[in-house]
């Protein structure tokens, strides 16, 4: 069998690197340049205290972004309501503490998994657009949460268990950071090594090919959303513990930030490629840049502007890369 003409250039093999890998490398170089620049020019940046602040800021977004990575890799774009779910979970956690700390944590995680998992079921079973489904689900959650809570903050029961350790430092490092690291390691191993993860990557590249290969499309899609739900719930628990209360305003920019982390990390928007570790890098890069801007006295709009520019640049970069290849 002749194989001489077998390898043709494509977006997947230029220079032996994939688009995602190139983006990760570019982002890392950019990031190192910023770090050096920041260290030299900005007082207070190069300090243990500040790095702790950065990693702490990256942790909550990062945990949610781990789950978002599963959705993106599965080829279902994004969930636009994970931030809302995290806030609802903070509320749920405060309420559920009456069943004890462990009970509260379990109830909250199951709640988050069910709420987001149902959206996955809808997307997987009917082929509905995930963006629309998750926007609708976000509005529903917000409405129901405000209706039930009466629009005010939810506080833990007076004689409830202590949960202070969830928000306090352990060996000098904030507890959420440990959770973030664990989520990244477990999330990465699970998506790379498990049968479920393999199915997600395959389905993400081509749902039609997945169907003919006999992959359980509905189950895989639901599964990806369940993982995102668990991650959002864990983030919600940590947010609730930190604020010592639950409020819907806590959702803030969590959704957008977690999507940005996935994209800046170089996971392909179209699905089928990417990794949880890349997302973690993305979350840390974004947190560092926000921190730097903050230290240099720039206001929130400027931070948002810079974030927007970075994400746009990454999207254009990956588009150019796949365009160039599309012809061959």
């Amino acid at each position: 069998m002749s194989t001489v003409n077998d390898v043709t250039p494509s977006r997947f093999s230029i220079g032996g690197m994939s688009t995602g890998q190139k983006i990760t490398i570019l982002v890392t170089i950019l990031f190192l340049a910023i770090l050096i620049f920041a260290t030299v020019t900005t007082t207070g940046f190069y300090s243990v205290q500040n790095f702790k602040a950065i990693i702490n800021a990256a942790a909550l977004v990062g945990i949610i972004a781990v789950g978002m990575t599963y959705i993106v890799i599965s080829g279902n774009l994004f969930s636009l309501s994970v931030g809302t779910t995290a806030a609802v979970c903070a509320l749920t956690f405060m309420w559920a503490l009456r069943f004890g700390l462990v009970g509260g944590i379990i109830i909250t995680i199951v709640f988050g998994a069910v709420v987001i998992g149902l959206q996955g079921l809808l997307v997987g079973f009917t082929g509905a657009n995930p963006i629309i489904v998750t926007i609708a689900a976000g509005a529903l959650q917000e409405a129901v949460a405000i209706w039930i809570s009466g629009g005010v903050s939810v506080y833990p029961p007076d004689n409830g268990p202590s949960f202070a350790f969830l928000a306090s430092p352990l060996f000098g490092i904030p507890f959420p950071v440990y959770v973030f690291v664990a989520a990244v390691i477990l999330g990465e191993i699970f998506i790379k090594k498990s049968r479920f993860g393999r199915g997600l990557y395959l389905m993400g590249e081509s749902p039609r090919a997945g169907r003919t290969a006999g992959l359980p499309i509905t189950r895989l899609t639901t599964g990806a959303f369940v993982v995102a739900g668990v991650c959002a719930a864990i983030a919600g628990i940590l947010i609730g513990a930190f604020n010592q209360s639950g409020t819907m305003t806590a959702s803030g920019t969590l959704t957008v930030d977690s999507i940005s982390a996935v994209l800046v990390g170089g996971t392909a928007v179209i699905g089928g490629r990417g990794s949880v570790v890349r997302t973690a890098i993305g979350a840390i890069v974004i947190a560092s840049i926000s921190d730097l801007l903050l230290l240099r006295g720039y206001s929130t709009p400027v931070q948002l502007l810079v974030l927007g520019v970075i994400v746009t640049a990454v999207v254009i970069l990956s588009y150019l890369n796949s365009e160039r290849a599309g012809r061959s």
Binding site: V4, P9, L202, T212, G214
Partner: protein
Amino acid sequence: MFETLRLETQGITKTYGHLHALNDASFDLRVGEVHALLGHNGAGKSTLVKILSGVVHPDAGSVRIDGEEVSPRNPRHAQDLGVALVDQELSLVPVLTVEENLRLGARRAVSSSDLRTLLDTLGLEHVKLTTLTGSLPIGEQQLVEIARALSRDAKIIILDEPTATLSEPEIDRVFAAVRRLAAQGKSVIYVSHRLGEVLTLCQRATVFRDGKVVGTKNVADLDRAGIVEMMLGHLPEFRTGSEVRTPENPQHISIRGLAIPPRVPTFDLEVQGGVIVALAGQVGCGASEVLRALAGLVPNSRGDVELGGVKLSLGSAVKSRAAGVFFSPSDRKEEGLFLTHSIVDNLVATRLPRVSRGGFIQKSLQEAVVSKLLSLTGIARERRELDVGVLSGGNQQKVLVARGIDQPNSKVLLFDEPARGVDVGGRADIHELIRGAAEQGNVVIFHSTDLDEVFDLADVIVTMFAGRLVNVRTRAESTPAAVLTDMTHGEGEISA
């Protein structure tokens, strides 16, 4: 005039890494000539086509059009130079009208009446310019694609496997159009695996092997065996007689009253494991739909299907799969393979449970499965981590077919055009894989529009026409003429 050179390439070389896709290839094309390019998948003909149409740039060598040295920078520049490519993959926009598609990307104005005439000459008199392209049958879309190339007033028209998805009458229309073009002094490069077409249509043929030009000959001096010998370097052995397979535990499928609206009103068939059944029919005959319905990919299909006495519930790919039905689609790029995943990932995609323990993929289990399949397909071990998307069509197709075979729980294997767009050697390998699966007792049903393939692979030939079963015969009692008659006309009672 016939001897005037329209196009001449000298010493074209193109390498990808250390691989020579084309090595010192020289080729010429006369005015008013239909010139065939022949060769294995990966022999170099597609690379030459890509260079001429500006998709790929050569490392060395020259291209002359009408004596003037040119280097097509991109497809648009090639179009300006008078080169038009009709790719084997359709590039029409389904939601645009025929006229809009014809005008898409055009560099010069063409009147609607000229477009009308163009369609008429291709036998598309009944197709309105305002028809949505996506509503036409695939064969007619292919003709529209050819019309588009013609509307560009090209001097050199490259047809890459133009008949792969066409039915006999459609092929005749393409042939007529090509002959008319040649008579008008246009030059046509005709890339095809169908030797019969080359012999009827072309004046000269250039054969490629391993990136090199083996030779250019007058078709009048060639016959089938001669061309195959140039392509392969040796003569293949044709299968003779009927082999009898006696698998230990033959499976059995019974299909009764299978209805797949709108194309197939009703379909009945019983097949015993170990026998290879061909559903022979043209594009649109309903055979694809039958296979897809059995695979659970057609939601509104109905009927009684039993596997070894157990009822199969239709409409769910996961359920069909669990029942032991495996389907290999005809469109390997769109719904067959995971192009950006490795050969290994693709080979195990259909058997993830088998290579997993406790929900996690086990490297050792995966390795055992992959090793066996690689040795069965003859794909080199070193290539196992390559993305399937960079393989040649033939090797992609081998990976696709290999995914379905050698599964302990399989009962029924369905292949839609198992050797679509694959050269003679690759096709023989693929057929060998499928025979092996039948030997293990599986029911094997495949659909093909290609008589050679039907007669090479099938033990039983089921002919189909316009959504209905026409005849069931063993291969021994079939003749190509009879099968072709069924495929193209059906029987009086059915076509009425």
